[in-house]
């Protein structure tokens, strides 16, 4: 399951999608909106995506994870649109027979999403707004 959604993410649904009777571990990463950045109060975040490419890139990342760890199930859901502090922006869930693989695979997937999936966010403050620039693009091409 890969989903980009403008509605609140159903965290339990992502976990259920990832779960498997053969698994001894389910690892879940939940990303949330911080209420502060650079010492300023964040009012809300605006997320936008290049949806078709974002879904394709997430699929590639999950495929890479499946080659590296024995995933029995997985789910990724990313929120798009306007999010207020405290809201869930992204959920990654994976299940594996043993916990170490689940921790590692989940971390790999969320790190790769932040690094190369075409999704952008803008922080809106009381006195202005700012697009967040993440990693330099050179690290993106290194994976292709």
């Amino acid at each position: 399951m890969i989903k980009l959604t403008e509605k609140a993410i159903d965290v339990q649904k992502v976990i259920d999608t990832a779960s498997s009777l053969g698994a001894g571990a389910v690892d879940v990463f939940i990303g949330t909106v911080r209420n502060n950045a650079h010492g300023k109060t964040v009012l809300w975040l605006e997320y936008e995506s290049y949806e078709s490419m974002a879904i394709a890139e997430i699929k590639k990342i999950v495929d890479e994870a499946c080659h590296q760890w024995p995933l029995l199930g997985w789910g990724v859901s990313h929120r798009i649109g306007t999010l207020k502090p405290g809201e869930v922006s992204v959920v990654v869930a994976v299940s594996t027979p043993h916990r170490r693989d689940a921790f590692e695979a989940c971390q790999f997937i969320i790190d790769a999403i932040k690094e190369r999936v075409p999704i952008w966010k803008k922080e809106v403050f009381e006195d202005g707004e700012e697009w967040i620039s993440a990693r330099p693009a050179a690290s993106v091409l290194a994976h292709h």
């Binding site: 936008e48 290049y50 999936v117 952008w120």
Partner: protein, 103 residues
Amino acid sequence: MTILQCLQMISFADKDMNDNFILMRQLQLKTFGIAREILGAREVSLKSNAETVGMLRTELIHTYPSLGGLGSIMIAVNRQYAQDDNAISPDDEIAILPPVSGG
């Protein structure tokens, strides 16, 4: 593609300073994030000489200098990150991607 369609896609620009004719093509660009704000629309139609991703990036930074200030602009061709030597044509889905910041 018919010859007529080819002719419709290819347009000749005005003479440049050296009196040479330059073959220009109309490229359709999708833009996102701060690149969308700099180019002024989600979809931009651009008359361009660029035959490759690298040439397009150079043209864009020349036309929109603030793009150059972003450090790293990636260009995707048909929903794949493209290298500078990647050829481009008016049929391609070309997207201008500022540094990503999902999560």
